[in-house]
Subunit: 112 residues, 2 copies
DNA sequence: TATGATACCTCAGTGAGCTAGGTATGGCAA
DNA sequence: TTGCCATACCTAGCTCACTGAGGTATCATA
């Protein structure tokens, strides 16, 4: 798997968004991110699973074992209420940040 | 100074952009980033100066001592040709990445 | 039968950024 | 003249997210 070369810190909001419509298992979260970003972001499993545990430890995700469509055991994650608030905050943060970077990258010659 | 809570990896492109019109000293680079982003990004000096040394070590920046408008000694940084190519690549990377994240954050319920 | 996809995991190492210090100069206000 | 803020540079220790590389196990399919 090719590395996705993440900007460190952006993975959390992607994971939280991935589970915002209901429980999804880890492997499915990785697939969802890859698919909705047209293969631009391909999260390494060595980044994904520790991140899930981290978000769970912080109280933003809850786990629950279940069965996939094809009858496999899988650990489903869902948002806690705190996690949902966090998702909203992280989306705001991302938008503010990306607007700021865009402004810098599209700036014309310095005025000082 | 309030931390800007950078997405790790985004500082390089900001620095390269800051010096893309001519030599700027470190302190001025920090100020430029803060100003062009309306105070959204406020780079810590403990992040800025090591980053400048790193980019110089990689051959993307060159240093040169000079005098500021107010007669102070300051270390001016300017882009090398390699640094300019790198700037273009990093801008492409940022746009691709931010488009991908936007796509994910604005996605509607999963289709699987 | 073996290969790839699914589904999970850990661990060592890297390295960027944060926190918190430090030096020195110049200008300005109390 | 004293003290403080802005300018201008720096380092060191720490944290911790991610990379890269490994591992287990099941199931479908070629």
């Amino acid at each position: 798997m090719a590395g996705s070369d993440l900007y460190v810190g952006t993975l959390d909001v992607l994971i939280l968004k991935a589970v915002s419509w209901g429980p999804v298992h880890g492997y499915g979260i990785g697939r969802w991110i890859r698919q909705t970003t047209d293969d631009v972001l391909d999260i390494q499993e060595g980044a994904l699973y520790p991140a899930l545990h981290r978000l769970q430890r912080k109280g933003w995700l809850e786990e629950e074992w279940g069965l996939t469509e094809n009858g496999r055991e899988a650990k489903y994650y869902k948002l806690t209420p705190v996690g949902r608030r966090r998702l909203r905050a992280e989306i705001v943060r991302w938008h503010s940040y990306s607007r700021a970077v865009h402004a810098a990258l599209e700036a014309t010659p310095a005025h000082s």
